[in-house]
Symmetry: C2
Amino acid sequence: MDVAEVSFDKVLGAAKTIFGVAHRTPLMTCSALDRIAGRRLFFKCENFQKVGAFKFRGAFNAVSLLSDKAAAAGVVTHSSGNHAQALALAAKMRGVPACIVMPSTAPAVKKVAVEGYGAEVIVCEPTLAARESTASEVQARTGATFIHPYDNDDVIAGQGTAMLELFEQAAELGTKLDAVITPVGGGGLLSGTCIAARGLDSAIRVFAGEPTGADDAARSFQAGELILQTDPKTIADGLLTSLGQRNWSIIQHNVEQIVTVRDDEIVSAMRLLWERAKLLVEPSSAVALAAVLCDTFDSECSGDAVGVILSGGNVDLDRLPWMSNF
Amino acid sequence: MDVAEVSFDKVLGAAKTIFGVAHRTPLMTCSALDRIAGRRLFFKCENFQKVGAFKFRGAFNAVSLLSDKAAAAGVVTHSSGNHAQALALAAKMRGVPACIVMPSTAPAVKKVAVEGYGAEVIVCEPTLAARESTASEVQARTGATFIHPYDNDDVIAGQGTAMLELFEQAAELGTKLDAVITPVGGGGLLSGTCIAARGLDSAIRVFAGEPTGADDAARSFQAGELILQTDPKTIADGLLTSLGQRNWSIIQHNVEQIVTVRDDEIVSAMRLLWERAKLLVEPSSAVALAAVLCDTFDSECSGDAVGVILSGGNVDLDRLPWMSNF
């Protein structure tokens, strides 16, 4: 099994690498949501990040760390989500080619978005096997470097930079965080957050929110071994994937609790964020708030000041969960 | 006719009054929208202000400036919009009574929101005459001070503080603003912005966006005299009202151009803000961006760096302009 080798220094290095390139996204508070939660919540708004999600941090860091020779041969990944756009943009900024393998089931709008960043899109059958073999073919043909969406040390270090900023911005408000929570899918954001939090202040407890319909992280955590997700089913379409091995090796030892939430709780939390905080986030982001608002978190987390990383804001405005056509 | 007496010092005083109480809302940029506009746009996000709109600034300033004796007798206004909530909250924070006169046609949810801030709501017939006479009755009965939503010097000064922050936040980004644009309805935000901009840097040109279906400001500006709005019809429900006299006395001499935009342009701009910038704003806010994107503005404004004040984010998520039930 692959074990991550991501030190706190590597996260600090990533912060230096993305400085002035990625947005230092705002930290927002909302007294109405504080009242509902019975705590002080500090929302790290990665919906305002480049490409609309935290994924840009990791992708840019990974592309930046390639040697000139490796970079010249380009990068490749398989993703139909935010990592696809993030890697396409990161490659464009370095002036190197990017090839994104997408399943034929991906919405046309996502293909267009990635092509808009100048990347080549290769469509394949909608199976993990087809995605992996297509990406391997591209690697063999072009010499491109494969940049995994989350199971990659440089990507993990990049995602950890959101926590560095969160900590710093909370301090600017005079607040010492007691805990932080992120959504968990593949575990890139969560594992990066663990490394950053441990390095900053070992007293900060790290939590994760996960949909009940894709709860491999929670089950892995309980079993003490990595269990893969089969047949995920949740509105949080950014969290369908299984935990990565490197991610699991970090999460296993550094996370306090993985709190599962139902889709109706996710939609309620999303609506609260839109209506009360005016924060336009995607369902996957709302998973973190949904977890904070549920009884499990309430009994597990004694802290008052909680950082909540809102992972992204890429949502189809014509198909919102509370619309009749959803 | 009432002429405003709002000095730059009065705006600076308001900034001191609201400091630490109103949010210093973030200034956001969006490279995708910059490309579309062909300029650098700096969005002052009053959708993140308390009560979800800039109105809190003026209401809080006006309530704060009352003598203890006057404040004890309470405040009254007629409004079914953001000023109603803003005044209710400002009064609550000073611990004095507020009475809000609302037309019987106002949505129940707005009544509930105002009552949630502890204000008394009095419902009247949906005519201006009924609203004014009902408010007068309250004044006569209780000795409450009437706080007009926009035709009030202290309110104007309070609204001007958004421009102070915008200027300062742009400077923090190393940018000197060439122009600023706000939506215009009654003219509270626009006139306050004029005073602030003139005091900060007389080279900044002040523009306004206005819906074609409620274009009394544009017509007044062209005619050189105040023309009242009759039968307004626009999706921008915060901009239905006529310009106030004090507001007009300022706007007349300090605004470069009032750019009118159609409802379809407003909806397009709103959708751009939601989709590209992840900024959840109400249609009235989108009027300012719609104006920036139209040909008139393009030919009238030669500047590159444009501040855009997004006035608020209070929108019914069950009835969005692009939904089939709208």
